[in-house]
C-alpha cells in the first residue's frame, strides 16, 4: 500500500513538474485590460480607443537590456505597418519616471511611449519579465504574448501582425 502511495505521489509530482513551465499565466484569448496613460508628449492615450485596429503593446523598462534592442525593431514595424492599421504602443514600467523619459527620448521612436508608475497595469497584464510584447486584435482580444526579446523575434511579430491585419 505504501509503495503504491509512493509511486502515486511520484507520478503526481512528475506530472506537476512537467506541467509547471507551461502553466505560466497568460492573457491570450482574453480581453485586453483597458488602460489610459500619459505619453511622452504630455497627451493621454487609452487602449480601448484603438478598437478596430491591431495593437502591439510593448512593455519595457530602462534596466532591461533587451528593451534597447527591441525598440528600434518595433520602430521599423510601426513605420511599415502603421498605414495598414497597426498601432504600436510602448509602455514604460520604470519607477523612475524622469530617467525613463530621458531613455525614451534618446531612443527616438516614432510610436507613442507611455509611462506607468502604478502597480495595477503590471498585475492586470501578468507582467513577468521585461520586455513583454502583446498583440491585440481588432476586437480587443489578446491574441499573442511574448515574454523577453531576442534578435529575430521581430519576424515572429511580423507573421502574427500580418495574420491579425488580414482578419
Amino acid at each position: 500500500m505504501r509503495r503504491i502511495l509512493l509511486a502515486g505521489s511520484l507520478a503526481l509530482g512528475a506530472t506537476w513538474a512537467a506541467a509547471a513551465p507551461a502553466a505560466a499565466p497568460t492573457l491570450v484569448g482574453r480581453d485586453a485590460p483597458d488602460f489610459a496613460l500619459k505619453t511622452l508628449d504630455g497627451s493621454n492615450l487609452r487602449l480601448s480607443e484603438f478598437r478596430g485596429q491591431v495593437v502591439l503593446v510593448n512593455f519595457w523598462a530602462r534596466w532591461a537590456g533587451d528593451s534597447r534592442q527591441e525598440m528600434p525593431a518595433l520602430n521599423k514595424i510601426n513605420a511599415t505597418y502603421q498605414r495598414a492599421g497597426l498601432v504600436v504602443l510602448g509602455v514604460s514600467v520604470d519607477d523612475d519616471l524622469r530617467r525613463a523619459r530621458e531613455f525614451a527620448g534618446a531612443m527616438k521612436v516614432s510610436y507613442p511611449i507611455m509611462f506607468d508608475t502604478g502597480t495595477d497595469l503590471g498585475r492586470d497584464y501578468l507582467l513577468q519579465k521585461m520586455p513583454m510584447t502583446i498583440l491585440v486584435d481588432r476586437s480587443g482580444v489578446v491574441r499573442f504574448s511574448h515574454v523577453g526579446y531576442k534578435h529575430g523575434d521581430e519576424r515572429i511579430y511580423l507573421d502574427q501582425i500580418r495574420e491579425l491585419l488580414r482578419e
Binding site: A36, L37, K38, S43, N44, L45, R46, E49
Partner: protein, 193 residues
C-alpha cells in the same frame, strides 16, 4: 449570467421554430412558381434567414442591456448607491486632463482623459465617473481637477461637498464651467436631490 444563457437559449429555440422558418422550409414549390427575380437578388430563403439573424442579434442586444441593468441593481442597490458624473460647459478657459474623486478621504477614482473624451464632454456629453456604495449618513466628497488653464498654464483645483446619504440613490455632478467675468474656469459639485 446563467439567466442570460437560459434566456438566450429560449430566444434561439423560438427563432428556429418561428412561423417564418416554417414557411421558408415549405417554400421550394412556391419559389419555382414565382416570377423570375433579378439574377443578383438574394433568394427569398436567404432574406428570411437574414431577417431572423438580425432579429436574434437585436434580441441579444436587448438581453445584454437587461443583464447590465440587473447587474447594476444587484451590485449597487438603490439604498446604498452613489453615482458621480462629470460635465463640462464651454471649456474655453480649461483643458481637462484628469479628475480624482475622494469620498470620506479615500480615493475612489482617478480618471485620465484622452483628447477624444474631453472633446465628447465639451460637446455636451456627461460621463459617469464613479458608481459605488455608501452607508446612509453624512459624507464628504472632494474632487480634484487637473489640466491646462488660461494661458496654457498647468491648473489644479479642488471642489468639496458635504452631503447626506439618504435611503435612495445619490447622484452628484462635477461641473466644469467658464467664469467669463474672471476669465477663469469654475469647478462646482451639484447635489441632485
Amino acid at each position: 449570467m446563467v439567466v442570460g444563457g437560459m434566456l438566450l437559449a429560449c430566444a434561439w429555440t423560438a427563432g428556429a421554430e418561428s412561423p417564418a422558418a416554417t414557411a421558408a422550409a415549405a417554400a421550394p414549390g412556391a419559389t419555382i412558381a414565382a416570377p423570375a427575380a433579378p439574377a443578383d437578388a438574394p433568394p427569398a430563403e436567404f432574406k428570411t434567414l437574414d431577417q431572423e439573424v438580425q432579429g436574434l442579434k437585436k434580441d441579444v442586444i436587448d438581453l445584454n442591456k437587461d443583464l447590465f441593468v440587473l447587474e447594476e441593481e444587484l451590485l449597487f442597490p438603490a439604498n446604498t448607491q452613489v453615482a458621480v458624473y462629470v460635465s463640462m460647459d464651454v471649456g474655453t478657459f480649461f483643458a481637462l486632463d484628469s479628475v480624482t474623486v475622494k469620498i470620506d478621504n479615500k480615493e475612489v477614482k482617478n480618471y485620465l482623459y484622452t483628447a477624444r473624451e474631453a472633446d465628447a464632454l465639451l460637446k455636451g456629453g456627461v460621463q459617469q465617473i464613479y458608481l459605488g456604495n455608501l452607508k446612509v449618513g453624512k459624507h464628504e466628497m472632494v474632487a480634484f481637477f487637473t489640466g491646462k488653464g488660461p494661458m496654457e498654464r498647468d491648473y489644479r483645483r479642488g471642489a468639496t461637498i458635504n452631503f447626506d446619504k439618504g435611503v435612495g440613490a445619490k447622484y452628484l455632478e462635477l461641473k466644469i464651467t467658464d467664469k467669463v467675468a474672471k476669465h477663469q474656469p469654475e469647478f462646482t459639485i451639484k447635489n441632485w436631490e
